[in-house]
Symmetry: D2
Subunit: 346 residues, 4 copies
């Protein structure tokens, strides 16, 4: 049985395990004040071409989203998200638990548009009773999105401009950023994210690390007290070095690119096979998440050898998510493709 | 320079690193639903002699404290803690950030007494305006405490009885539990904690793991929805297996006991040296934290080779904390003891 | 200029002012522990035919909603509301500020259906990853709704049954309950609300009082610590007597019924005039809120003498809200109706 | 039986009731946007000699404290208070319920000193691990304090200077401000409060109004979004006019001064009688709260005719609080003084 359910089914890239072992008895101060973290932050900022930004390491995605959003917003402010956004549906109300409403707007393929955000912000300002509603103060996007889609550089630039015009902060969830960066269709680079957002994060958990997300914050004002917030929200790892060592490794010798490229190459192989064999897709996605629709018969056969995430049940069959990653085995992909050929509709 | 500042200056016990490497490409489902977590939980419950309890793995101590306390309390309820308790002083208000007041009572050597807790609970019930004050609903202890002291079985039993009589939940922070269990003076076993508390946790971060705390909850009612809470508070690791693998290793072949024993044996050597050479102690502690008072001259000399945590500054000198752990090197302890001899008061 | 904007444009029913003046120098204990509150609570419970329920007085509607919802829910739980529900749109995220997500479902004429609630609860229970989403634990309805519509007794009974089957609490916002009760179409009585809900409130602010909402809670368990919560959320009036005196007056000699009947009678007159003169309605409502659509020309003319609440702007004209109340002057309604006749479409 | 328990045992000053009755049918917009509120705010700012400040009306003291503190602080920040401060002991953890720790320092006669605040702020800044502790960001004082004592102008100026030097906001709770202002010993005027604090409030509830506190905020930045916060925290009265009318009356024709003067004159009579007849005081207070210690015999006799608030129980007797107010009857004071004479220690 091979698990294609998600991109966190295995441990870590072997180079990361090796780095952890090599440094195991090196003593360091705690809580991310060590030299490994400093080195990793420097490498990340160099990769972002943004030497004046600030890097903070967190353990996981929900934690990063909750901590950034509640650190940046005032109590009466809310965050705009696509209705399919991770913070709106899959974080057990973590953002609300910090007191902030997620202002969910209908997404298109998991994405928001600049026009949509502008209209919402404008309507709030025009409302004479606006104090009775939550003030929109931040926009949350994911790159890639929960449906595997991408914002183009033009789209991200437009959204960034609207945010600056309307006093909204822009925050990008990059839990799967390695796969977005490695995707052929993508034209948004790390330096664009650093330039166009107030904060974004570089996912480690799903991109080769055991765990960890590197939050990049643009302004000193937003970064200044962020460590208090990490501590308060339970995200300050005593052995913060673990994050420094992992991200230092990911940002050495192009490992983060390699990790993304492997996942995308195998996803592309499956994507081609799905199309060539006439499978319908629930969502068009160019990255490492694929959403084919299988008939009950097909699903039953596939499920003898593979596990997927059920995405939506239909009367005859279901849409599932197939995920590749840095760890996906070529041989498993071969087997899957062969079976997809065998099972194609007559 | 050797760091005696705390018990989280290195990585993990080599057996833990090995277990992580050995299982690295084994695929598992995420979020702690894997077989490694199941196995580790079973081992922990067996060690606690408490097969009907429930184990939940969290990443760190502040996170564990905040998640347990806010999961168990209702909004109008607060948690009683010694004024020196970790939740009261060193968690950046994490408990308050979830809406609950820490009801700090003056500790004695970092400890609360059953009588003190009873008096507080009684006074609240007797107050006709009690609705204007926070309702005490939980007691938070640490074993060992922030000053390295221990609750005896008799003390813990008394406190547990008071808690049950007054409807207070009892929660024990065991971030340094390995060292408490290994201490010669200690008579509180894992099974006592499981029996006398509503929840406690078994520290991994400071006791040989890379990170991780295993929360043991007695009642199905308190455990039932706890995973929602872990997720909401940002503590649900995608690769939850990492916690299962680590705790499975710690609870195999007596590793958790060995880890504690090593730290205590070296602490005992330093403790004896401090006493034999006439050093005063800021606090009497039988576990792996020592609080000697050094003169400025002594501190200056020691600081050329060792690093400690500054505990309290005095006019001439300071109290510092010396911490040993599973990772402390015998040779470093030899060097420290030699220097302590050399520097003793004439 | 006559204000039809809402039902809180004036002070209080003269009998209430008189009662406040008559009792002004009577000394009472504070915080709602006085005899006036006791008397009012008894009268309300008698009116509800529910002697074993509990009454708590709060100052306003947002406060009542926020206090009840956050008192009843656990941190990982959310409240289901129609998307147009007051808690979802017009309370500046008060519910979220207490940590809870409002689970907004698309309403029909401002109403939820039992089927819709059941489907949502069922889907949550069936989701194997349900711990990653907010647990639905309460249903919030308004009677009458924000669009002036009513739940029938059959609809409310169905919803109550679904709630009981799925472990959801049922809470009804009765800010405008006097007008719902007085409406010809209504078949839901106070005793039905007491019987079918876990809590509901009887609005005072919009129904003849200066301010105040009387929350009726069914179960002793939910009521037991509610006063702690009122105090903590800032809703415990020092001179709680003011609420007792007002609600005691409203529930004497049928005043609450008279207040509702006056508002409904005048709303009915306007409703008939709107229909007879061919005006379109944005929403069909049988209670004291009317939502006619006026052309720009009509609106301009009407606005010289009357003020309404803008509901939705259209290219030529707008939907507005006309509200009547216990205080609405017959003469103002006469003038409005005459102008509606004059302005009708040729 | 005459109640001396507190200063909220009666309704409102008759001029306030009259003003409410006189304006009862005047229509106004809601939520404090009416002309009565505008007029009252203007009068208050004139009385404060602070035309550029901002006035916001809230219903009660706990609500005002919670709303101001949570509006001004960031999540990782806490508020310094005397341990006897109302927010620390008598608000059911309202401040903590908004996520902020109350940093309680030992008060002297209910007061903090500038030196104490400075030492605390300095220690925080000097702590290299300060991110592990709550950042002090505001100082909360009461004038008069919970023990009836007063800050002198010199003391308040010193505290204000420390606050500005250390980046702490200064907030003064004036629930009993009328009695502080009217006290012979007092040298702090309204204009001093406006000048030296970032926000303070002028108590109405205990000073002649039915309810209401007028918050005066110095800076436009702190005031800008405060109405969102009032609404979110449940403090925005639909009929906000009620607050405008009451404060407009209190700040016309010197009524606020008269209210305070009456309470103080009668308190002074009792104070003199207590001293002349040899009663001991639990706390020395120059304002409208008196804290005599009575023997059991005295208390029993007094309690046949008068009710007090029990402050602290002793073996033989108790300290009680006697409170006067705008409403206290001269005849009741006469009777009390006579009995105090009769009961004096032989």
């Amino acid at each position: 049985m091979y698990l294609f359910n998600s991109d966190y089914m295995e441990g870590a890239h072997p180079l990361i395990l090796k780095a952890l072992a090599d440094t195991n008895f090196t003593q360091t101060p705690g809580y991310g004040t060590d030299a490994f973290c400093k080195d990793a932050a420097d490498k990340i900022l160099a990769a972002c071409g943004s030497p004046d930004s600030f890097v903070h390491f967190l353990v996981g995605g929900t934690q990063a989203n909750m901590t950034v959003i509640s650190a940046f917003l005032r109590p009466w402010e809310g965050v705009i998200s696509a209705d399919t956004g991770h913070i709106n549906v899959h974080e057990t109300g973590a953002v609300e638990s910090t007191g902030h409403k997620v202002l969910a707007l209908p997404g298109k393929n998991g994405k928001l548009s600049a026009a949509q955000i502008e209209a919402y912000a404008k309507a709030h300002m025009a409302d004479s009773d606006r104090e009775h509603t939550v003030k929109p103060a931040m926009v949350y996007l994911s790159q890639s999105t929960e449906l595997g889609t991408l914002y183009s550089l033009a789209e991200l630039t437009d959204i960034s401009n609207v945010c600056r015009n309307y006093g909204l902060l822009l925050f990008v969830d990059g839990a799967r950023l390695a796969y977005a960066l490695a995707c052929g269709q993508n034209d948004v680079k790390l330096c664009d994210l650093a330039r166009l957002t107030d904060a974004f994060y570089i996912g480690g958990t799903k991109c080769g690390a055991l765990f960890g997300e590197a939050v990049v914050i643009s302004s000193p004002e937003l970064s200044r007290h962020f460590r208090y917030m990490i501590k308060q929200k339970g995200g300050m790892l005593a052995k913060g070095r673990l994050l420094g060592i992992q991200f230092g490794t990911l940002f050495s010798d192009g490992l983060y690119e390699k990790v993304g490229a492997h996942g995308i190459r195998l996803a592309d192989r499956i994507r081609v096979a799905l199309k060539e064999n006439g499978y319908r897709l629930f969502a068009e996605s160019p990255t490492n998440q694929l959403f084919p629709i299988f008939s009950s018969r097909q699903l039953e056969a596939l499920s003898r050898e593979f596990s997927f995430t059920l995405w939506q049940q239909f009367e005859d069959g279901a849409a599932v998510r197939i995920c590749t990653s840095w760890a996906t085995e070529e041989a498993a992909v071969d087997r899957l493709i062969n079976m997809l050929k065998d099972l194609k509709q007559a």
